[in-house]
């Protein structure tokens, strides 16, 4: 659709300007995290003096009341099981939806779809009391359970779509070879469907890491708080230490950004699977 090299140039320039402008806030927060406040009092884009320092990072990590190092470790403790558990359970269920026929299958699937649209606020109150009753409130296990359950509907939906696109011949060959459905699933389907499974894992990982609400509602002990919970606590009541907050923000967002950078393909494939039906 490009008519003329001049138009092409203009379009490219505009596009790149848009791109650069778009990440300005990120650049800003990074700058604020490494520059002493007196240098950026009139804006982080002012470069009269430039003496970068990582002191704010240490301050955030080893904050006296809300150390971020503990928050980051807690986040990992929560995220990893909260990714693996729902992935396995949902993959099995997704396979059943894709290959088996059973009564109320469609109603069940419909229910799962609706659950994906419901806000977290809708199930948290009874969960809060249930966990309290099971003495799982304010524990890692409690939060992991909640995240795992919450992840199952969407992962099942996602993987079911993926599985239905795999040709059935491989599974039929395995059936003729005498394999049980369990064996077929783990030895044939899982390895072959790995790209889809990695996509789901990447998205679930990012989602749990980024979560704030469940942690806010279910974890009180500062020793067990996750990284996203710690951040708002670093925001002072009266005076906001932007250097501290920026450093904390950069550290907390590094993990999902790294995952995105390294597994970019799977991330995007997962996201667009929501909207585009192949």
């Amino acid at each position: 659709m490009m008519r003329g090299p001049i138009k092409w140039l203009i379009v490219n320039v505009i596009a790149w300007i848009v791109g650069v402008l778009w990440i300005m806030p990120f650049v800003g927060i990074f700058m604020t995290s490494i520059r002493p406040f007196k240098e950026i009092v009139h804006g982080w884009w002012v470069f009269e003096e430039f003496h970068p320092t990582f002191s704010k990072y240490f301050e955030a990590l080893f904050h006296p009341s809300y150390p971020l190092w503990r928050g980051l470790i807690n986040s990992f403790i929560i995220v990893i099981p909260s990714t693996i558990i729902p992935l396995i359970l949902a993959a099995l269920a997704a396979y059943a939806f894709a290959r088996f026929s059973f009564p109320i299958k469609n109603y069940l699937f419909l229910t799962m779809l609706f659950m994906m649209t419901v806000p977290q606020q809708m199930m948290i109150i009874p969960i809060f009391f249930m966990l309290h009753n099971m003495k799982l409130l304010n524990t890692y296990l409690g939060l992991i359970l909640v995240h795992s359950s919450w992840g199952i509907p969407w992962i099942t939906f996602f993987l079911r779509n993926y599985f239905t696109m795999l040709p059935t011949e491989l599974e039929e060959a395995a059936l003729v070879d005498g394999a049980s459905y369990r064996q077929i699933f783990w030895r044939i389907v899982f390895p072959v469907a790995l790209p889809g499974i990695v996509s789901a894992a990447v998205l679930q990982f990012a989602w749990v890491w980024n979560d704030f609400f469940f942690a806010l509602m279910l974890i009180y002990d500062p020793k067990r708080m996750v990284a996203t919970q710690i951040l708002p606590l670093l925001k002072g009541q009266y005076h906001i230490d932007w250097g501290l907050l920026s450093a904390g923000s950069v550290m907390v967002m590094t993990v999902p950004v790294m995952v995105y950078a390294l597994l970019h393909r799977y991330y995007v494939k997962g996201f667009t699977a929501w909207a585009i039906k192949k």
Binding site: V18, M115, T117, M123, I125, L231, L245, S246, Y260
Partner: protein
């Protein structure tokens, strides 16, 4: 034969069990709680008799609907109005911007990098997103105010998030910046699935860019648009983290949204049945959009 059935069951059972206990049951319990009916196992959440009182209370509360504010056009106007405003502003901008950018990037060198940059807002935690918004709208070190200053719009320079008349708008505009990455990437994928030959045929027929955009591209992208719109509306209604960290719903409730209101009733006021009521109201507002989205998904089967 029985062994096969049992095996097939074992595929479904663990997942279904977990969902029923931890998702479906709590959702139902919340709905009932909004009517003061307590079916929560092992806990006494409500000992009031079943009634609609919570709903009356909610809809007459000015946290939910502040008619005075609506009439005079000043904030706060109530969480319901705030969420509605959010959708009204955020949705059209992010959808059209996303489509335009996706089209713009079709012939740009390094388009995938630019897309990644725009998409970054979707990758970070929304807590960080909220902080970035508060940061950008800060009077002294926020780039928004810097831009306003350089454009000569000095009357708008202030820390937006601390003033009732601008707090909500700061959040909404910030959410456009965060969420447009989704529509850009989704529309880009959609555009890639349109066969090039169709566009080429239109060009040969002498159609201009604007005609091609409106008469061919947009109609062909309708399912994508429905999906983007549905997901955006749902996201706008569910929004929590951003508001929590940037304004906490303030100042004076000027940026209160439904999810924050729900949390407020739960954590600060400890009125659990009211909290459940707000959550239920929120869910039922989402319901029609959810139905449209589910229909779209089911149609593809």
């Amino acid at each position: 034969m029985g062994a096969m059935r049992l095996e097939k069951l074992s595929f479904l059972l663990p997942a279904l069990l977990l969902i029923f206990i931890m998702v479906i049951y709590p959702i139902l319990a919340t709905i009932l709680l909004s009517f003061n009916i307590d079916i929560v196992v092992g806990a006494k959440v409500s000992d009031k008799p079943p009634s609609l009182e919570n709903y009356f209370k909610a809809f007459s509360s000015k946290e939910l609907l502040n008619w005075k504010g609506v009439e005079t056009g000043t904030f706060p106007m109530g969480a319901l109005i705030h969420n509605a405003l959010w959708v009204a502003i955020h949705l059209p901008i992010t959808t059209m911007l996303g489509l335009l950018l996706a089209v713009l990037l079709q012939n740009v060198k390094g388009a995938s990098i630019i897309r990644s940059l725009i998409f970054l807002g979707m990758v970070v935690p929304m807590i960080v997103g909220g902080l970035l918004i508060a940061f950008s709208f800060d009077k002294d070190i926020g780039i928004v105010n810097f831009l306003l200053n350089t454009l000569g719009l000095k009357m708008f320079v202030k820390t937006w998030t601390t003033y009732p008349d601008t707090a909500l708008f700061a959040l909404i505009l910030g959410s456009v910046w965060l969420w447009t990455g989704f529509s850009v990437v989704t529309y880009s994928a959609g555009l890639a699935s349109i066969p090039k030959e169709i566009i080429e045929a239109a060009l040969i027929d002498g159609a201009k860019f604007r005609t091609i955009l409106f008469k061919i591209i947009i109609p062909l992208l309708k399912p994508v648009t429905v999906a983007v719109v549905a997901m955006t509306i749902i996201w706008d209604l569910k929004i929590f983290d951003i508001v929590y960290v940037a304004t906490r719903g303030g100042p004076g409730g000027a940026s209160m949204v439904l999810s924050i209101l729900m949390w407020d009733y739960f954590a600060r006021v400890t009125d659990y049945t009211m909290s459940a009521t707000i959550a239920t109201i929120l869910t039922f507002i989402i319901l029609p959009i959810a139905i449209i989205w589910v229909k779209l998904v089911m149609r593809g089967r």
